[in-house]
Amino acid sequence: MTALLEVEGLSKRFTGRRSFADMLARRPAPVVRALEDVSLDIRRGETLGIVGESGCGKSTLARCLVHLHNADAGTIRLDGLPMEGMDSAAREKFSRRVQMVFQDPYGSLNPRMTVGQTLAEVLAVHRIVPPAQIAARVDELLDLVHLPRDAAARYPYEFSGGQRQRIGIARALAMQPDVIIADEPVSALDVSVQAQVVNLFLELQSRLGLTLVFITHDLRLVRHLTHRVAVMYLGRIVELGPTEQLFDAPRHPYTQALLRAVPQLTPGRRSDEAAVMGELPSPLNPPTGCAFHPRCPLAQARCSVERPEMREVGWPVACHFA
């Protein structure tokens, strides 16, 4: 498998508002380091999972991939062509090929447009099909996501969360993308509805040969759905490996803790001990060295000073002692 989308050394910082107290104390404005030197490649046809807890940068990474954010440093390449320095036509082509499905099925659709208008707009603006064929293509898209064709005449508020998420997927598919970035696409849905949407992703991937980037905090889902998984902690990837092996034998102490912390579906209490102690550190003020060292059971003096580089331990892991 070849890399379709490559990310190299991506960094993104958000500068907060400098408060009056900051000015008095001559402090600079607070800076959130959302992404720090993130590199990964996304292979054609695969499903890559990106997991981590709040503040790990997974959503920022997703938004950088579709250019909702401009990264401060680093490059994103599609088919080996770097995004930077593209002219607007090339950029538009890029944006066509990488689409996004959002988390919130209620906020991600324009409430004043019917489903048909929403889909037709995509087709018309980008001249994806001739005007005469737009209506037929809208029907096809609705078929593709298993919505009735009369959905086109209705407004988003007439649909349930799961159905809206299908509309969002149809809208992304209207662009005929190669890659779909799905940012927590089922976490806002009812448990009994999630499986429907997960199946839709699986089906669309095999039918259309889509490449999927699945961002979620649901590790059970990642294990089921993805080929490879990247584990993020505080703006960095700490481990990136094939899903099955990684879940069976996680290398990074954080991954180990994360997997232990997920409540399994098989009944029985394993221990009264929590998988990992301590809080998630603030991305405003990340720990020195390895960001996980204050919570890590294996941490040594070295971990608080020297940041571990990614190294191959069967797959890339950023830990001195993995």
């Binding site: 996004m100 959002f102 919130d104 324009n110 004043r112 995509v122």
Partner: protein, 267 residues
């Protein structure tokens, strides 16, 4: 359904006023301009429900025929501030940055003065008359529309459907005009209807003070001013236009509030 009653009442009143404005001859019992020297300053009676003025003109007929001017004042006094304010709110909310900062300070500056005082100042500088009054209203009134619009744009801008539109590669003009504007404009329009009540009051106040509509143009404020010299002997001359002003204010307020409730439900 019971929640809709204020809205229906408001629309009923506004509809009645509109009827007065469009076809006053159907509703007015007399020609508003014909003098009747047989009935000078006649008190209210079955023949003249609201009495007659010092020239024997039927007060009710004059009040009804003034509705057109007053509705025109309400409309023009709102539309220009609305258009200017909404455009500024849309631009500042969408772009932010220095343009937002500049207009933000300007809005703060305008808002520090009492509304009426500022309008009167503008009219005093420009000279009395309806057109100058509209210019003055536009210069002062845009601020509330711009603020409302800017706030709505900021809310809509952070919604995921706007992010989705950007990922879909839509142009900023399309995103602003086709996606944000239709969602942001509804509360502004509802406010505009409520605002018409205030503008009618303001227009009649300025008419009364001789700074707005000029006599002999029939306008409620002007009509009240006509009757002010006879307030002790023939108070009914000012009564009918006064009642109409109250009625119009009530009608537009109810309609505006009802509309904003109605629009809220669908969100």
């Amino acid at each position: 359904m019971t929640r809709r009653i204020p809205l229906l009442l408001g629309l009923l009143i506004v509809g009645f006023l509109a009827l007065c404005a469009v076809v006053p001859q159907w509703l007015a019992p007399y020609d508003p301009l014909v003098f009747d020297f047989m009935a000078l300053q006649a008190p209210p009676s079955p023949a003249h429900l609201f009495g007659t003025d010092q020239f024997g003109r039927d007060v009710l007929s004059r009040t009804i025929s003034a509705a057109g001017i007053d509705l025109m004042i309400a409309f023009c006094g709102v539309v220009f501030p609305l258009l200017i304010g909404a455009a500024i709110g849309l631009i500042t909310g969408w772009y932010g940055g220095w343009i937002d900062a500049v207009f933000g300070r300007l809005m703060d500056l305008v808002a520090t003065f009492p509304f009426l005082v500022l309008v009167i100042t503008f009219v005093a500088v420009l000279g009395p008359g309806l057109v100058n009054m509209f210019i003055a209203l536009a210069c002062v009134g845009w601020v509330s529309y711009a603020r409302l619009m800017r706030g709505e744009v900021l809310v809509q801008k952070s919604a995921d459907y706007v992010a989705a539109a950007r990922v879909l590669g839509y142009s900023p003009a399309r995103i602003v005009l086709r996606h944000i504007l239709p969602n942001a404009v509804r509360p502004v329009l509802a406010f505009a209807v409520t605002d018409m009540a205030l503008v009618i009051l303001l227009g009649s106040s300025l008419g009364y003070l001789g700074m707005g509509a000029q006599p002999p143009m029939p306008e409620w404020g002007v009509l009240i001013a006509d009757g002010k010299n006879f307030m002790t002997t023939a108070p009914w001359i000012s009564l009918a236009p006064g009642v109409m002003i109250v009625l119009a204010g009530l009608g537009f307020s109810l309609a505006g509030d009802g509309l904003s409730d109605l629009l809220d439900v669908k969100r």
